[in-house]
């Protein structure tokens, strides 16, 4: 084996030096703040190159629209405030591989023509927006034509009062492979808004007290939302014109009002709704034009209507759910029933179980006559809790005449499923 000569060592050393030099250029750190080399974020951004880290120290920075167009890490130390003075879009990201973390972003401008956001991502990939606080912005975090971005651990607050005067908390448009994780959003128009977003996940977010929807899905196929909490939003959650959506383990609660639904499904197909909780909503799930979805192991409690299934729904399977303490478990507006109900627990079921297999021996008709009457003629609700309604419901249960007779759960469970 040949040993390297001293001359060779010099070459190796030289090469090493070059590598080290270039490395130090990649990981350059620029400090911004009073008492640091840069007082202005904009100046620091001007001199930075791809791969730099900009550390912004605490203080309030009113620098209009800050544009990040290099692949840098933009890190706040002790919560520096980026203030848009209610005039500018605060932070615009126009480069791939950007990290933004540790900032308070507040008071973006309000305009309905160019939709300014607290943080807006334009046509970028691999952007990470992590652990920021967005306060009183028009849009909170806005992503357009972006891929593989992560929005995580952000707190997004606004205090909008009217739909047209405030934007969405997290707004995603024509993007894919996004991860929206563990954000808390309130006071916006829609908490999370997806339009033409594919292959993305929404996980462990809390969206509450938003003016319109907690989560709004449009034309966004192959997405999943898992373990989120949607509470007290003006109209609940809406999933529309979409296929292949997975909805697991979410909680929809306290969406109460004339036009509020826990979950509004419109023109959805081939989706899977599993292990969610619908509590105290005017209607737990409202379905319209919904095909081939499976609603399994959900719990519907204390709702006005557990599920409202319009006659335009087809081939849906509703099985292994608990329906408890709802005013109406199910209602529908037609006599055609193309959906199947099996193995659900209904607390209004009064049948018996002679062979003790935990399945009631008498089929259950979840559709009460009164709910059919109300659907045909809403003012009938005026007779809610009137004695005659109870009587009519009883007699209809014995001999169904007005309710569709194939609207039936053949295997009602005797005990609630532990969920």
């Amino acid at each position: 084996m040949q040993v390297l000569s001293p001359k060779d060592y010099r070459y190796v050393l030289g090469a090493l030096c070059m590598i080290l030099h270039s490395l130090s250029a990649v990981s350059g750190t620029i400090q911004v703040g009073s008492g640091f080399p840069f007082a202005s974020v904009r100046k620091a951004l001007e001199v930075s190159i791809d791969g730099d880290t900009i550390l912004v120290h605490s203080g309030t920075y009113k620098e209009g629209n800050i544009i990040i167009d290099k692949s840098i890490s933009f890190v706040g130390v002790d919560w520096p405030v980026l203030d848009g003075q209610l005039k500018y879009e605060v932070l615009s990201i126009k480069a791939d591989h950007v990290l933004v973390t540790g900032f308070v972003v507040r008071d973006s401008g309000h305009a309905s023509l160019d939709d300014p956001g607290g943080i807006k991502i334009y046509d970028s990939r691999y952007v990470h927006i992590i652990n920021n606080r967005l306060i009183n912005n028009f849009f909170g975090i806005y992503l357009q034509y972006s891929q593989h971005c992560i929005v995580r651990d952000n707190i997004i607050r606004a205090s909008g009062t009217e739909e047209q005067q405030i934007g969405n908390g997290i707004h995603c448009w024509k993007s894919d492979s996004l991860q929206i994780i563990a954000n808390s959003i309130s006071g916006h128009r829609d908490g999370i808004y997806f339009e033409f977003v594919h292959g993305s996940i929404i996980w462990r977010n809390i969206s509450f007290d938003n003016i319109r929807y907690g989560l709004h899905f449009m034309f966004s196929d192959n997405d999943a939302y898992i373990t989120n909490l949607f509470r007290g939003n003006g109209a609940g959650v809406a999933v529309m014109f979409t296929k292949n959506v997975k909805m697991f383990n979410n909680t929809f609660e306290d969406n109460w009002g004339d036009a509020a639904h826990g979950l509004l499904l419109k023109e959805i197909s081939d989706s899977y709704i599993f292990n969610n909780r619908f509590i105290r909503n005017t209607s737990g799930i409202y379905m319209e034009g919904t095909n081939r979805i499976i609603v399994e192991k959900n719990s519907f409690k204390d709702n006005g209507w557990g599920m409202k299934i319009q006659a335009s729904c087809m081939d849906n399977t509703i099985r292994d759910n608990n329906f408890m303490r709802n005013t109406f478990d199910i209602s529908t507006n037609g006599s055609l029933v193309l959906n199947t109900f099996n193995d659900n627990y209904w607390d209004k079921y009064e049948g018996y179980d002679l062979d003790k297999d935990n399945v009631g021996d008498v089929p259950y008709r979840p559709l009460s006559l009164f709910s059919v009457l109300v659907e045909q003629n809403p003012p009938t609700m005026l007779l809610y809790r009137s004695f005659i309604v109870t009587l009519l419901d009883r007699s209809e249960k014995m001999i169904p005449t007005l309710t569709p007779d194939n609207f039936i759960d053949d295997r009602p469970l005797m005990h609630a499923i532990p969920l």
């Binding site: 009002g257 005017t282 006005g304 005013t327 809403p378 005026l382 007779l383 009137s386 004695f387 005659i388």
Partner: protein, 256 residues
């Protein structure tokens, strides 16, 4: 506060076994409702049925029967130098106080314990008002006919009408005129039945009111405001005063 006749009647009725049973029934029903339902809101809805069915039934039938049974006592009083109107008022107040007391002791205590805030108050007030309305209607039944069986028959029929048939009629109207904007007219129709008035009053206090939709909104706009509430209460009071005055007029003019 009470004059001698009222005091005598109140004491007499409070000793009555039917009234004791009524108090006990209300107590058992409401305590069991609230201990079985883990959600007090649903308990209120169940209790609503008690207030709207049992209370009117017991009030009207007991009043009618009591009037017939005390016919001799009334004749005795008439032989004394007491004005007829005073006797009738005494009877009415005596019956109303004792039945209202039964309601407050039987249902009122669990209501105040389990139901939060103003809903409890509304339930109580409505229960007492409904008692008053049906005592007054009972007086009307009692004076209308000398025959006891016929009088009791009329009182049962009246209860059946207000508790059941009227709502059937409303249902019929709603479907016959479903093509017309009849929501506002329905407010007027509801005023024709004290039980419906009370029911709507209580339901508007509960969360379920959001389910009433457009009609509910109109009712809320009307009965939810201060003026509307006042009108609602006034209507219910009218349901007490009118039948009572009518029965008193008949009593004064009647040849006993």
């Amino acid at each position: 506060m009470f004059n001698k006749i009222q005091r005598f009647i109140v004491l007499d009725i409070l000793k009555n076994r039917v009234v004791l049973a009524y108090t006990l029934l209300l107590a058992v029903l409401s305590w069991s409702v609230f201990s079985l339902e883990d959600d007090s809101n649903k308990g209120v809805l169940t209790l609503l049925n008690i207030v709207l069915l049992t209370t009117p039934l017991v009030s009207i039938i007991f009043t009618t029967i009591y009037l017939y049974n005390s016919a001799e006592f009334i004749e005795l009083l008439l032989s004394q130098p007491i004005r007829r109107s005073k006797i009738w008022t005494g009877l009415f107040l005596g019956l109303f106080f004792s039945l209202a007391l039964s309601f407050i002791i039987g249902a009122g205590i669990p209501i105040l314990l389990f139901v939060p805030g103003h809903v409890a108050l509304i339930l109580l007030v409505m229960g007492v008002l409904i008692t008053a309305v049906f005592v007054a209607l009972g007086f009307l039944c009692g004076i209308m006919s000398r025959d006891k069986a016929r009088g009791i028959g009329i009182s049962i029929l009246l209860w059946l009408f207000f508790a059941l048939l009227f709502d059937g009629l409303v249902l019929f109207l709603l479907f016959q005129f479903s093509d017309y904007p009849i929501e506002k007219a329905m407010v007027g129709v509801a005023a024709l039945n004290p039980i419906d008035l009370a029911r709507i009053f209580i339901i508007l206090q509960l969360d379920v009111s959001a389910m009433l939709g457009y009609t509910g909104a109109i009712f809320k706009d009307f009965f939810g405001t201060g003026v509307g509430t006042a009108i609602g209460f006034a209507l219910l009071c009218l349901w007490v005063i009118l039948p009572y005055l009518l029965s008193r007029r008949m009593f004064i003019r009647k040849d006993l």
